[in-house]
């Protein structure tokens, strides 16, 4: 029989306000095995932990139940406290009477009743707990960064600077990401490329960094400290070692009709291409969909003009398998599809563009070579209307419920830059709110209004109607003056909501990292562990976790790097001892468990068993505790009940069920 102590936390008034904690403690004494109970203001405080330690010593406790907040919060705290007092940490269980009880129930009688039942279930479980020992697993001292934008580059640089090997996997032919597409950056207005390219060069030159561009993560197995990743290096059709990056192939390529991804489809590129001038690596890729040679078998001009002989039409995709200790996701974002926003005439008029498209229009390397012109007729616009929150803060399913965070600032930037370069152009911004929380942000916005005379109108735009003369009629409302506005514009710019890169779903599935309803990766704790995924060994960098601007992204990238470094610096990790175990006397050797194990942790061996005096050799399941992650799939697949999960055994769970239904 266990000797169990029950400790009931008030959590200030968080629990005590709707749960009679004294009553819970009192009722605990009536449970089998309970020899001690007490309540205290803050069980997680040092004084609270000391009470647990004291009771373990004085009453000779063999098990502890703490009725407190979620085990996801303080299970580790209490287990460590028990361990320090000489108790096996796995003899501690938590009854969650805060998140699952006091915070959701208002009636103290009801709350107390439920808390007592939750306490009983935990006591029933601890009665069947057994001491467990954590094992050890090794750490591969190499990190993988998925995504080669500013977030990925910064994370890789920081990890590499700490002395660890890092691989960057980037889907497109070059690193640089969204930031490489931006013209200027707020609130300092420095040139995006000018501050980004040195970082790209630094990353590519770093001896600890290996960059796989035009590559994708294909498969991930393993676990924290020991991930095994398959990377698909897509066939570039150009030998990266031979290519000198002279660019002749791109000039000569006769197929020039493929939309330029880098310029958001506003102009075209050749079939063999580097996405932009400063691309790293400066090695082109053949777009096999657009290439005449691949489509018809005829052409081969690039191969003929390539002095280096780098063109290789027969190149195949290559799978690289590498081991990593930590993985950082930095998959970034895209703008949302505007098909559902017909009222803004985005698909009808070339002069209605997204802000990211405007970045390309304003950029010297863009489709208009940096001249502000209408994409329909090349004329200089005189009247530009910006529409804010297109798809952001949206209550229906056309857009996103969240604020995309960067739009207010980049619109102020665009407005300011246009007014600065083209003082004769009128700029009007329709906004819901202007959100400028950030260092020097509000000052920046006020400059746009006060110094540059940008016309901000609080109100939404209902419709943009293309006119026969090519102008755009903007119908909006001015909420402050309470009047309808009809405005003729030459160009309309939509501050389009951003969303996580659509590929992130696939990646999250491979990494078993959780994702929220908006496809942003979930952090382990919204406040306290914002750069870690709940899945151990997976870290989050940049917009894949939530909308952010460049300085925030860089800060988070560094934080993710620090977390990864903290992991890589360890030689060994303690493994979760709540693993499956097979009872060889009950095992049929049927292999059913092996078939459902996602980690290949179960193997079959011929073992000599002594079954009540009968010695024989049997085929039995053996669990590799270093590989087992403790999901329990095998325990249910096993018909005989030979397979059980330590810490969540059949009998423990049934005891909880019984306690709840009592």
């Amino acid at each position: 029989m266990q000797r169990i102590g029950v400790f009931v936390c008030h959590c200030g008034s968080n629990i005590a306000a709707t749960v009679d904690v004294k009553k819970v403690a009192e009722m605990a004494l009536m449970e089998p095995g309970v020899v001690h109970s007490e309540d205290y203001q803050y069980m997680c405080s040092e004084a609270g932990q000391a009470k647990i330690a004291a009771a373990i010593h004085e009453k000779g406790l063999t098990g502890v139940v703490v009725c407190s907040c979620s085990p996801r919060m303080h299970e580790t705290t209490f287990r460590k406290a028990a361990e320090r007092a000489g108790l096996n940490p796995y003899m501690v269980e938590i009854a969650n009477i805060r998140e699952h009880c006091s915070w959701i129930h208002k009636d103290i009688e009801e709350g107390t009743k439920k808390a007592v039942i939750l306490m009983r279930a935990a006591v029933a479980k601890v009665n069947l707990n057994a001491p467990l020992q954590a094992g050890e697993s090794r750490v591969t001292k190499r990190a993988l960064v998925i995504g080669g934008g500013i977030a990925g580059i910064q994370t890789a640089l920081d990890i590499a600077d700490a002395g660890y090997e890092v691989d960057i996997v980037e889907k497109t032919p070059s690193i640089g990401g969204r930031m490489s597409q931006l013209d200027k950056t707020f609130p300092t207005l420095d040139c995006s490329a000018c501050i980004l390219t040195p970082k790209m060069v630094e990353a590519s030159a770093h001896e600890k960094i290996k960059i796989y561009t035009y590559s994708e993560v294909e498969k991930v197995s393993g676990f924290v400290g020991d991930f095994m990743v398959d990377i698909r290096k897509k066939a570039r059709s150009v030998d990266m070692d031979k290519c000198t990056g002279c660019g002749v192939c791109q000039e000569k390529c006769p197929s020039k009709k493929a939309p330029s991804e880098f310029n958001r489809g506003l102009n075209t590129r050749s079939a063999i291409y580097t996405p932009f001038a400063q691309a790293i690596p400066n090695v082109p890729v053949i777009d096999r969909e657009a290439c005449i040679k691949f489509k018809t078998g005829k052409c081969g001009l690039c191969s003929k003009v390539c002095q280096a002989g780098a063109i290789d039409y027969d190149q195949q995709d290559e799978i690289i398998t590498e081991k990593y200790g930590a993985i950082v996701v930095a998959t970034g974002f895209d703008t949302i599809n505007l098909d559902k926003y017909d009222e803004y005439a985005y698909s009808q008029s070339k002069d209605v563009i997204t802000s990211l498209e405007l970045e390309r229009v304003m950029n010297a390397a863009g489709p208009t070579h940096g001249h502000l012109e209408r994409l329909s007729d090349g004329k200089a616009p005189k009247e530009i209307v910006f529409i804010q929150c297109v798809g952001s803060r949206c209550s229906d399913d056309r857009g996103k419920p969240y604020c995309s965070k960067i739009c207010c600032m980049y619109t102020a930037k665009h407005a300011m830059l246009i007014r600065d370069k083209y003082p004769d152009v009128n700029v009007t911004v329709f906004y819901i709110d202007v959100r400028t929380p950030g260092k020097n942000f509000d000052e920046f916005y006020r400059r746009a209004v006060e110094q540059y005379g940008v016309n901000y109108i609080k109100g939404q735009v209902g419709k943009v109607i293309p006119q026969p003369d090519g102008k755009l009629l903007v119908q909006g409302s001015d909420l402050l003056d309470n009047r309808q506005i009809l405005k003729e514009a030459d160009m309309v710019v939509l501050a389009t909501a951003i969303e996580p890169n659509p590929d992130v779903r696939k990646i999250a599935t491979m990494l078993t990292a959780s994702i929220d309803t908006n496809n942003f990766l979930t952090e382990a704790h919204a406040k306290l562990r914002p750069v870690e995924s709940p899945t151990a060994g997976i870290f989050l960098s940049g917009v894949c976790q939530g909308p952010k601007d460049i300085p925030e992204t860089v800060a988070q990238a560094g934080a993710a790097a620090v977390k990864a470094i903290g992991l890589l610096a360890k030689d060994k990790l303690l493994t979760n001892p709540c693993t499956a175990q097979s009872d060889i006397l009950l095992c049929n050797g049927c292999s059913t468990c092996e078939n459902v194990c996602p980690y290949g942790a179960i193997t079959y061996e011929d073992k000599e068993v002594n079954d009540h005096g009968i010695r024989e050799t049997r085929r039995v399941a053996v669990v590799n505790n270093a590989l087992c992650q403790g999901c329990g799939a095998c325990t249910v697949a096993c018909p005989s009940g030979a397979m059980d999960l330590q810490g969540f055994s059949n009998r423990q769970i049934i005891a909880e069920v019984d306690a709840i239904c009592r």
Binding site: S70, P71, R72, M73, N96, R98, E99, H100, C101, W103, I104, H105, K106, E110, G111, K113, K114, I117, L118, A121, R505, A508, T509, T512, S514, I515, D516, T517, T522, P534, T535, C578, V596, P598, Q629, G630, C631, G632, A633, T635, V636, A637, L645, F648, N650, I653, I654, E656, V657, D658, I660, C661, R662
Partner: protein
Amino acid sequence: MSLENKEFKPKIVAFCCNWCSYAGADLAGSSRLSYPADVKIIRVPCSCRVNPMFILRAFEKGADGVIMCGCHPGDCHYSTGNYYARRRMTLLFSMLDYIGVENGRTRVEWVSAAEGVKFSETMNSFVEKIYSLGENVRLGDLRCKN
């Protein structure tokens, strides 16, 4: 509903996987999104840890409803656990339905760690369903001698 139902306090067991649904329940709690106290949560590492034996045991011991929550398909912390759980529960629920146990007493919902609202809504709707079904007598009576 009848008068005696006002007295009826159902026993409802919710199996929640540690990584998504239990965290979703925590979020419902910290967001103060209430649901009836009839629901008691049992934490399991993964929905694939839920043995049909546990569910039948709960009914045998007097539970009026059993709900299992796990990560959304594709998002399982252990990659594939909820896929197996989904097949197991589908077959089990179908069997219970086949022997005449009201289908509404069993449910599976996928609730992510970010879906505190969904967790609370799910529990509210499930409890409402159990109230409408009333006390569970059939499973307990299944083998009563005639």
